[in-house]
Symmetry: C5
Subunit: 154 residues, 5 copies
């Protein structure tokens, strides 16, 4: 049985934590999921770290980022933190972020969030359950999450 961690935020405007939970359960029927909800993106790294301390084999974090330059600096520091958690634990923490300035219309943001959370939850299951070769068939294929695939350049 595999243990997955899901971390989401109250700042987010879409419940991506629920999407990730549902997707993981559907993809891996021998698993346990632990969910951790924090205020904002800068709280994601410690929650991921704690979930790994408590036994998670891999974690998905789901963050929502505002439009200002300051929000982008918060994104940068969060990204560095999430990478450090992974380096120190040798566990994957798949980092899903939706940026409020990715689209003007709320429907588009919802669609991006759902697509990105779903695809990356599947990526997490593959990496945790099936290991380092699980995504080999897609290497260099220009896959995108939240958008249409860009495709391979011939």
């Amino acid at each position: 049985m595999r243990k997955y961690g899901v971390v989401d935020t109250t700042f987010s405007r879409v419940n991506m934590g629920d999407i990730a939970e549902r997707t993981i359960k559907k993809e891996d029927n021998d698993c346990e999921i632990k969910r951790y909800t924090v205020p904002g993106i800068k709280d994601l790294p410690v929650a991921a770290k704690k979930l790994i301390d408590w036994g998670s084999d891999g974690v998905i974090t789901l963050g929502w980022v505002g439009r200002t330059q300051l929000d982008k600096y918060s994104y940068l520091s969060t990204s560095i933190g999430l990478i450090m958690v992974q380096i120190l634990t040798s566990k994957h923490v798949i980092d899903v972020t939706v940026h409020e300035d990715e689209a003007e219309h709320p429907d588009d943001l919802v669609r991006i969030a759902e697509d990105r959370a779903t695809k990356h939850a599947i990526n997490l299951v593959r990496l945790v359950r099936d290991g380092e070769s699980s995504l080999r068939g897609y290497a260099g294929k220009g896959l995108r999450q939240g958008y249409r695939n860009a495709g391979e350049l011939s």
Copy 2:
């Protein structure tokens, strides 16, 4: 009994440390609070680290950031530092910052500071006392601190 740490600065133009202390006491009547006042934001990470060394179960830091690009780089390095403290200790350090360019009128800055410090002090109590599920009901709800909630996208 829970132990909370509160770190604030002499650079700040609002006494957010007092606000945080009052709020924590009101929210959690079986707690001890340790306060640490430092000059500016770049001194926050070590103070948070020391409070955790001394037994705090979680910390709130309250920083005030100036208007220049340099202040923003200081914000960035501080954010990275606060995230590293959390990763190394597996304890929450909730990071409240008010940026002097968030509003033109002093009254608005005061209001932002009070709202943000209060709401995040409550977040800290919930996470420390009630754990990883304490904010689950607000996941994806678009909560904001310092501003009106943005709300969930339908």
Copy 3:
């Protein structure tokens, strides 16, 4: 026998992992290669770390970076992470990245990716197999990967 790690992504639009594998095999006929495919660049550091945990003497990572400022921040956090992996393990992780805005025409991007992945795979073999003096003859020669060499200034 030397052990090399190769990490590539599904985000990439060129299969640089295959290029690196082929090049390493051609350069070093007494070696074992372990490949790890991850979704995007921010997943590279933990994969490199795990390959080193599993015995790799050196790793090459092959990332593809988008055009937006956000992609550049992801590049920055990934670079910091890859450098931290190296510092903590004292092993080389040669970091190949192709940026989608390096060229307008897809053919040029493909050519850059092939040239850069090939040359850096050779660099990795030299450093891992032949050590700290293996590139001495090229010191200060203005070598470039992905572009024509800039050359030494007289």
Copy 4:
């Protein structure tokens, strides 16, 4: 007896190390000061680390930063480094920096440097000798170093 470390640079255009040494001696008459002079700001973190290795209870670093964007990136990496030293040692490293573009006239730069180095040397003594409550009376008072105090917002 307390042990203070003072780190300054040959890049600086004002001898802030002397100012800091004089101020610390005046503020704390039962102390030992160790001085470390390095070339530029990026050398400050290791010097602070070494002084703490050698027994300093707290350190003040005094850096001078040029006008270009590159200088600002050096400031950023130095700031991250100084914060990491503090986190790893649980000791204060008060970071004084003067930026050459803070003022046009040399007299103003000298005045800023003197004021900032003096006030932060006093801050260091208070934190090291008198502890976490020593600056409590100034919390939220809008103190500034190098400039007139901004004051508390009512």
Copy 5:
């Protein structure tokens, strides 16, 4: 006998490694120098770390940085890495970088590289052999490497 490490790159357009080696030998006649040549600046931190693992008392790294914003982000991540190496080992790693946009004419770039590499190699010898007070006489004197000294402000 002191042990110095010299790290340079094949990306550089001036052989600064040779300049540093010659200068160190001339300054310190009881020393051993170990040279490490890597492809580019992002490979400098691990090489410095390995040289220290192998016994170097101090290291000089000699990097060449391109003109684009991306090159500057690579500079930033490298700088953070070099500072981390120093913090983790408590050894000096003097970081010489020449930026291709510092001058338009190649002759000027060569002159800057020679001056900077020479002066910082001397700085390294002083710090490693003569310790924390060796540069005290130059504190606050506005020394520059690569350019004329800026001088002390009166």
